[in-house]
């Protein structure tokens, strides 16, 4: 989230699309309802009429996988009707930038496409720059090659009629949504978006988010209270686990994972440190070398020296273009390339798309370590229905861990607030906190490598591993301090005003502005620097003052980066630093300084020609980007059909599906489009009573009583067609698998009219699994396809094709 939960109350219009907040983030509705009480509008766009829709002022249905068409139509509406916030668009976004001559778009393809590689050469999309490297601009927005005009041209085709033919949304419903949301383009108004996996789990997942980001930039909603682009993250600490880089492609703090193209730290810094020729661009990532050196010092401590490039050589290097993400991981496992496996607090046998392939893969392992609170379908895969334990060699270590209230530490919510939690009780029986488990395991591994030399022992032996308290137990405070970072020697630095600041060896670093590239500071994750300082544990703060009245609560817990509660807040003020909306001022330039939220950098407003900085400080040029030349599938979002879709032709172009997706081709990687055997669109979702795969909630009797069994929701029309009565058992099948479910025949799903064609859609939850409850059914992820977004490789679990028949 660029903003945060409480801030929803400040919104004039909340669009809930690609999420179902009332069911899955119930307490967020507290703030949504407050916005409504204050006169704000709630708009729900969803294939199914949900509990959120039931509370909305405006509801519009759309077929799964057609969000770009829907929102592309909104861009056209905004531009055609002059609903955009002109001053903001001209001054703060890339709309005036001139795009290079090689950029073209034709019939669904951007220029630079290589059919063999299924990839683009992004050099074709470069901006025109002057000799200093500063983008050329036309503030009048008239140049036909400026981003604004190209955007207009790109979405010219997205007429309401065309959009309706793709999405199945009746034109009047489309217009109602467009009018309601576009009204926030007025100066002083703010609209926001609440999205979740309904947008990301698509082969156009990133572009779904981008198309909305473009709308938010056009309407001047980014940086504003009650605005922003807000992902509702689904797990209590999925934000923190991402920040900590439990992902193949990054190191903590969103530093790119090293690959063979950067064998040395010098190479790494050269490649990954962006440059800007514009003195008015803050270009924050120019600080990257400081963050990397400090991270390496946190990893390897004293063993990291300038001479050995702080141990950079000890980090694993990916091959060029090697993608080790989820779907590839389980493909490798299925193909027998993975021998050992840690499933640490996760249940991929139910949560992964094409779960049958995952389950088959688990049987090919030599050993698995499963750390969890409850028995689950992953750790016990060998006794699942259809498995013959005698034929499965995989050894499984099931390690019982402590629950959230049985240990101490912080978690980071969707709004980036890192909140500390305390230990309330001991874990039952022999269960242990995860921290202790990993601490003991690594100690043992270090011991083995010390004793019998093994392969490349340096990173193991040199890993700084002093996170125990005096009793030998894992100590969360020690790690929290390491993540924040230390000064490693006495040092004198300057504050922004130029005054000397003296720091002692062992002091905690008060802000990432003080991190160094020479090894004199350590920091486990630069974005968490200032979370735990000499003044104490900022994440444990519980002070309730709210000076802006906007619900920022600056002294409640701590928020990354540097306790900034609303990102890009420099865009919430005009060139003179005065808020676009004085009633809801996030920051304000007054008497030579900023008041309000922590501003995006210390510089004065942009009107100061010398010291002012462009507002989007994380972008090399400093502007909000409608034109995204960095993504794999194009600089503008374009509608493509899901890999499995109900139509033989994309109504927009000759490209049926995203031309850059990776398609697996093994015997368990089937996918079928327009196949008469699988005629219906399907999507998956969650229910209030169960959480994710249900691993925790399926063991709780009252929650199971309320949602006891897998179900499929389908329209009355489809039920009639298939002779299915409400409450009957049905079989839902896809090219990959089959599940049994109870039919819920509902008016909340309606057939979609795509021009002359009628398309039916169904939906199922993915919270069940064979282990419990009895007769609960199995995971709907047995149906979903293992194809991912070309940028993130997040699987397309939200749009695929199935059949439904009476069981």
């Amino acid at each position: 989230m660029t903003n945060h939960w409480v801030d929803l109350k400040n919104s004039d219009c909340i669009l809930v699309m690609g999420s179902n907040a009332a069911a899955n983030h119930p307490i967020s509705m507290r703030w949504v309802m407050k916005a409504k009480e204050n006169g704000g509008k709630l708009v729900s766009v969803d294939p199914r009429f949900t509990a959120t829709s039931a509370k909305a002022d405006v509801y519009a249905p759309l077929r799964s996988g057609t969000d770009i068409a829907f929102l592309g139509g909104m861009i056209k509406y905004i531009l055609d009707n002059d609903k955009y916030f002109k001053e903001y668009v001209v001054e703060y976004t890339d709309a005036p930038f001139i795009v290079g001559d090689k950029y073209e778009f034709s019939d669904g393809l951007f220029s630079g496409y290589d059919k063999e590689k299924r990839a683009y050469d992004k050099a074709f999309w470069a901006l025109k720059r002057d000799d200093k490297g500063v983008p050329e601009r036309d503030p009048s927005l008239q140049n036909p090659r400026c981003v604004f005009q190209l955007l207009k041209k790109h979405y010219e085709r997205y007429t309401p009629e065309k959009v309706s033919e793709i999405t199945g949304t009746p034109v009047p419903d489309l217009m109602k949504v467009y009018e309601t949301f576009a009204a926030t383009g007025e100066k002083g108004k703010a609209g926001t978006i609440m999205y979740a996996m309904g947008w990301t789990q698509h082969t156009v997942g990133v572009q779904n988010v981008r198309v909305m980001s473009i709308i938010q930039l056009l309407l001047g909603n980014v940086g504003m209270a009650g605005g922003g682009v807000n992902a509702l993250r689904g797990e209590s600490n999925v934000q923190g686990a991402t920040d900590a880089a439990l992902l193949f492609h990054i190191l903590p703090g969103y530093l790119p994972a090293p690959d063979v193209s950067v064998p040395t730290l010098a190479d790494y810094n050269k490649k990954h440190t962006p440059k800007s020729g514009d003195p008015r661009s803050a270009n924050w990532w120019q600080n990257r070398p400081k963050y990397v050196a400090s991270l390496l010092k946190a990893y390897f401590g004293d063993a990291a020296t300038p001479e050995n490039e702080f141990g950079y050589a000890w980090l694993p290097k990916l091959d060029a273009g090697q993608n080790c993400s989820w779907l590839n991981l389980f493909d490798a496992m299925y193909n027998g390339k993975i021998k050992g496996f840690f499933a640490w607090g996760q249940n991929p046998a139910c949560s992964s798309a094409n779960a049958n392939k995952v389950r088959a893969g688990l049987a090919k392992l030599d050993w698995m370590v499963n750390v969890n609170l409850f028995e689950n379908e992953t750790g016990s895969f060998w006794k699942a229905p259809g498995m013959d334990p005698k034929k499965i060699k995989t050894e499984v270590f099931m390690l019982p861990c402590a629950a959230s209230v049985e240990k101490e530490g912080s978690i980071t919510n969707s709004g980036r607030w890192a909140q500390w939690r305390y230990k309330a009780a001991n874990a039952p029986g022999k269960a242990k906190p995860d921290g202790d488990i990993m601490f003991e395991l690594m100690n043992k591994i270090k011991e083995l490598y010390k004793k019998d030399k093994g392969k490349f022992p340096e990173p193991i032996l040199n890993l700084k591993w002093d996170y125990a308290d005096e009793k030998g137990h894992f100590d969360a405070h020690k790690v929290a301090k390491q993540v924040n970072g230390y000064f490693l020697k006495d040092i004198t630095l300057k504050d922004p005003a130029g005054n000397d600041l003296n720091f002692k060896k062992g002091d905690l670093v008060p802000s990432f502005a003080f991190l160094q590239a020479d090894g004199s500071t350590s920091c486990g994750s630069w974005i968490y620097c200032s979370s735990y300082t000499n003044a104490g544990n900022m994440m444990a703060r519980r002070k309730k003052d709210d000076p802006t009245g906007l619900g920022l609560y600056p002294q409640w817990s701590w928020c990354w980066p540097v306790n900034r509660r609303i990102l890009y807040n420099r865009a919430s003020v005009d060139l003179n630093g005065q808020p676009w909306n004085p009633q809801k001022a996030v920051i304000k330039w007054a008497e030579g300084k900023w008041v309000g939220d922590v501003p995006d950098g210390p510089w004065p407003p942009m009107a100061d020609k010398e010291k002012g900085r462009n507002p989007f400080i994380m972008k090399p040029d400093g502007f909000g980007a409608s034109f995204g030349p960095g993504l794999n599938d194009g600089p503008f979002p374009e509608h493509y059909e899901p890999l499995e879709c109900p139509v033989p032709k994309n109504a927009m172009s000759a490209q049926l599906v995203n031309p850059t997706i990776k398609i697996f081709a093994g015997e368990m990687d089937k996918h079928l489009t327009c196949d008469p055997r699988y005629p219906f669109v399907a999507t998956t979702y969650r229910v209030t009573e169960h959480w994710q795969t249900g691993l925790m909630t399926r063991w709780q009797p009252w929650l199971v009583e309320a949602e006891p069994q897998n179900f499929v929701e389908l329209s009355e029309e489809l039920a009639n067609m298939r002779g299915i009565k409400n409450g009957e058992m049905v079989k839902v099948s896809s090219a990959r698998g089959e599940v049994s479910a109870v039919a819920i025949v509902t008016t909340r799903f309606r057939p979609f009219k795509l021009g002359e064609v009628t398309v039916h859609q169904i939906g199922l939850p993915w919270c069940f699994g064979w282990i419990t409850p009895k007769d609960g059914g199995d995971s709907s992820n047995l149906l979903t396809p293992n194809v991912g977004d070309p940028n993130t490789m997040i699987p397309e679990s939200k749009a695929f094709m199935v059949n439904v028949i009476k069981a």
Binding site: P26, R30, P701, E705, P708, Q709, N710, K725, I744, V745
Partner: protein
């Protein structure tokens, strides 16, 4: 007789989280029963000795074609003149003077089950097969006589349930109906003069639950 208490159920604020249904079981120590999904999120489907409160889900199309999904947290209405009580000859069914709660005593095993159930305009009474007695919501009699709110009211996260002296609740109902009428002309407080559990609806009561406004 004192004015007693009332519960206001504002369906316009309910998001169907089912906290009330779970809280009722928790406080009254009613077991979770094995259920089957029979084509609805409504589970369990029937009031019973183990279930005194059910969140009813009801959906359909408005005449203009727009979908609706109504949530209705069903329970005993604690009528001012209870139909069930008319079946009572001695003191099988009691109406508490102070609170207004309508209570089934163990002696209800002597009542005719079918007739008593029929006499209830809202189809609430159920028979406990083990003891033979009739059972239903007690308005959390043990809680309210100890100065505590009913368990369902206490748990509601969106303040859709409110408990208090009847006069105050009637007043709140009136005010809320007036407010809701601005956007929902059909907004109404169902049978407010006759029941102590007053439901606020924004649509035809039949579209919430077949017995929302009585048989």
């Amino acid at each position: 007789m004192s004015e007693g208490y009332s519960i206001l159920v504002d369906t316009s604020k309910c998001t169907a989280c089912r906290g009330c249904q779970v809280a009722c079981k928790e406080w009254n120590q009613l077991p979770g029963v094995p259920t089957k999904n029979v084509g609805s999120h409504e589970n369990p489907q029937e009031l019973s000795a183990a279930t005194w409160k059910i969140l009813r889900f009801s959906e359909g199309k408005q005449p203009e074609g727009q979908a609706f999904w109504h949530f209705f947290s069903e329970q005993c209405r604690h009528c001012v003149s209870p139909g069930c009580m008319e079946q009572s000859e001695k003191d099988e069914v009691l109406q508490d003077e102070k609170t207004g709660a309508v209570l089934f005593t163990p002696k209800t095993k002597d009542l005719k089950y079918e007739a008593t159930r029929k006499a209830c305009p809202y189809d609430i009474p159920r028979k406990d097969e083990k003891t033979g007695a009739l059972v239903k919501c007690t308005m959390c009699f043990d809680r309210i006589t100890n100065n505590m709110e009913p368990a369902c009211v206490k748990t509601c996260p969106t303040d859709a349930l409110e408990f208090g002296p009847r006069e105050k609740i009637l007043d709140a109902a009136k005010k809320r109906v007036a407010e809701l009428k601005k956007n929902y002309p059909k907004a109404a407080a169902l049978n407010a003069d006759d029941v102590r559990v007053i439901y606020l609806v924004t649509d035809d009561p039949k579209t919430y639950w077949k017995f929302a406004a009585g048989k």
